[in-house]
Amino acid sequence: MQRYIHFADTVSAWFGKAFAWCVVLMTLAVSYEVVVRYAFRAPTVWAFDLTYIMYGTLFMMAGAYTLSRDGHVRGDFLYRLWSERTQAKVELVLYFLFFFPGVLALIFAGWKYASRSWRYLEVSNMSPANVPIYQFKTVIIAAGILLVMQGIAQVFRCIITIRTGEWPPHAQDVQELEEILQKEGAEALRHGSEAVDIVEPKEPRR
């Protein structure tokens, strides 16, 4: 199980990070468009399509990466108060009820949608540049497959946690600046313990 988790994390991170560079391409392409439009009065016909294609690909392909690093928002004000074992038990059930139906439907529906588009090699109708978008629609399937794969890894994580009583550590990854700087006071970011702190001051931390 550990090995599968590691494998899924690596694959998700690889895809997420590879497509993350779309943001740099977007920055450069759109800046180029603005420059040629004003400096040379020669706007490109492809920039508009390119922008949303890159944006869509970027966030869809990163869904599994974000899931593997627990980056999707959750209303965790109760969740944080539970023991890790309870968290894992609840989550295990919820993955089957409220995760897999959605992402499996994404693959299935995306398949119908993209294959229709491939059949006539659909191009964008937003601009006269005839930018192909069938590959863009295929991203839906790819994102769904990555999510199912990562979802299975998350289920394994829950099972391990139920056995051992604590969440297996996440792989090394980039962190928000505040998280890095907050290392020392990480305990304070666990709101559950903080809520107690308001009522009953604990010993100074160090």
Binding site: C22, G75, Y79, F99, A195
Partner: protein, 472 residues
């Protein structure tokens, strides 16, 4: 159960699942699919190929195939993929990764300490000078990056100890940093307003124009409060012992030129390009990101590692926001197909509220939601419930959006999920109590309410710029 009752059950179950702490985006997607399957269940249509095959006396294999295929013929799958695609091809949301990228790059450009130092020297003769400098630094830095956690943490490490060392009151110093850092989600170019634009269909350009003066109003109120407080109770913010009289005017100007103006120029250029229609928000964001990269390069802070970090953080945050949209749009269209939206509006109509009462009720609910939830969940999931009710009370969604943007400032400052306070607590010296931070933030919550009342009575503050620039 009638369909609208199912819709209410759907909302109820959803809120219950949120309480359990499961990732919200996927909960929304799955519930949309499950309830949508029920809502769009149409046996005649779904098994039409099967019936036809039966009539044509097809072989058993084809019959079985068509029978099983019938289960997948539900139109909810088309709805799901169409909603997903409309998030993917949304031309407003394209600005989200670009603004985030700009924010992360600027955040890592080693600019904030320079900025704070310059501003403390510049404002040294004002009462409560360091608090004023911290507030302006927070506001400017938060506007450029839009990342509240980073601003509060960085300033908490930099300005907070400096203020404590100068024997400033702990609460006063804490409040300035928490409230100042939170301004980033209000003052344009803020990502929250893009998200609201995508949810409500209000033009993002008009939203930016509308939010500018209210943002300045709030920041101005914070400033005036700090100065007056320091004048009335000088013991809270003692004057620095060394006034720094040896610093010449020329030096101050040079410091401003190298720290304050480049960042201010970047913000003004991005905003100006959007407001005067030279560029779409996405284009301006791209230029802003490029400008941020150049700025970081000028400060010799652009390393390969930092660029990588910025890129990866951008993608994670974008995925977080946009998957929430995918889930929410699927959920919302099923909810309204089942008649849930209609039921809500009938219910509200039955309450027989005046527009003012409705506005107060809506803002109160959003304020209360801000206690446990963060702005992204509130705007993407809960605000759409209010939006269809606005025409009933003749409330402009632009006006409503600006009030929400102000209101959500409090969600960072009020417990139990006061993110600003927790970020500060996390890096503050151990003797600083969370209660002191809350006490310091409380006046700012009050000022947010005051600003909302002012805006309600003088909506011209919101409409002045949009009317000036776009004539409507």
């Amino acid at each position: 159960m009638t369909d609208p009752q199912v819709a209410v059950a759907m909302l109820g179950i959803f809120i219950f699942i949120i309480l359990l702490g499961f990732p919200i985006a996927f909960t929304l997607m799955a519930m949309g699919i499950i309830f949508g399957y029920y809502a769009y269940f149409d046996a005649d249509r779904m098994w039409m190929p099967y019936t036809r095959a039966l009539q044509q006396d097809a072989d058993t294999f084809t019959l079985i195939q068509n029978y099983i295929g019938g289960f997948f013929n539900n139109r909810v799958f088309d709805l799901f993929v169409n909603q997903t695609y409309s998030v993917m091809a949304n031309d407003v949301l394209t600005a989200v990764p670009l603004f985030l990228f700009m924010g992360y790059v600027v955040e890592r450009a080693n600019i904030v300490d320079r900025l704070f130092q310059t501003l403390s020297v510049t404002t040294r003769r004002l009462p409560g000078s360091m608090a004023v400098a911290a507030l302006i630094t927070c506001a400017l830095f938060a506007t450029a990056t839009g990342i509240v956690g980073a601003v509060v943490t960085l300033m908490g490490l930099l300005a907070f100890p400096a203020m404590l060392k100068a024997r400033y009151d702990t609460s006063l110093a804490a409040g300035v940093i928490c409230a100042g850092g939170t301004l980033g989600i209000l003052i344009p170019p803020s990502i929250m307003l893009i998200v609201y634009a995508a949810t409500s269909g209000v033009s993002i350009v008009r939203l930016y124009a509308g939010a500018l003066l209210p943002g300045f109003l709030l920041a101005g109120m914070y400033l005036v409060y700090v100065v007056i407080r320091a004048m009335l109770q000088p013991q809270l913010a003692p004057k620095p012992e060394k006034l720094g009289d040896d610093v010449t005017v020329f030096q101050v100007i040079w410091m401003l030129l190298t720290s304050f103006f480049p960042l201010a120029f970047l913000i003004v250029a991005v905003l100006g390009a959007i407001l005067f229609g030279f560029a779409t928000p996405s284009e301006a964001a791209a230029i802003g990101a490029l400008g941020g990269l150049l700025l970081a390069m000028a400060y010799r802070a652009l390393t390969w590692k930092r660029l990588q970090e910025s890129v990866y953080l951008t993608v994670k945050t974008t995925a977080m926001v946009c998957w929430l949209f995918v889930g929410s749009w699927v959920f919302a269209s099923v909810f309204s197909y089942l008649g849930g939206e209609h039921l809500v509006s009938e219910f509200v109509q039955g309450l027989d509220l005046t527009p003012l009462q409705f506005l107060l009720l809506a803002q109160l609910i959003i304020f209360l939601l801000g206690w446990p939830l963060e702005w992204s969940e509130i705007i993407i999931i809960f605000v759409p419930i209010f939006l269809p009710l606005l025409p009933m009370f003749d409330i402009d969604p632009l006006f409503f959006g600006i009030l929400i943007a102000l209101n959500l400032q409090t969600s960072f400052l009020t417990p139990p999920m006061a993110m600003s306070a927790y970020y500060l607590k996390g890096i503050a010296p151990p003797h600083v109590r969370l209660t002191q931070i809350f006490a310091g933030s409380l006046p700012y919550v009050g000022m947010v309410f005051l600003a909302m009342i002012i805006l309600y009575n003088v909506p011209a503050i919101i409409y002045y710029l949009p009317q000036l620039v776009y004539g409507r």
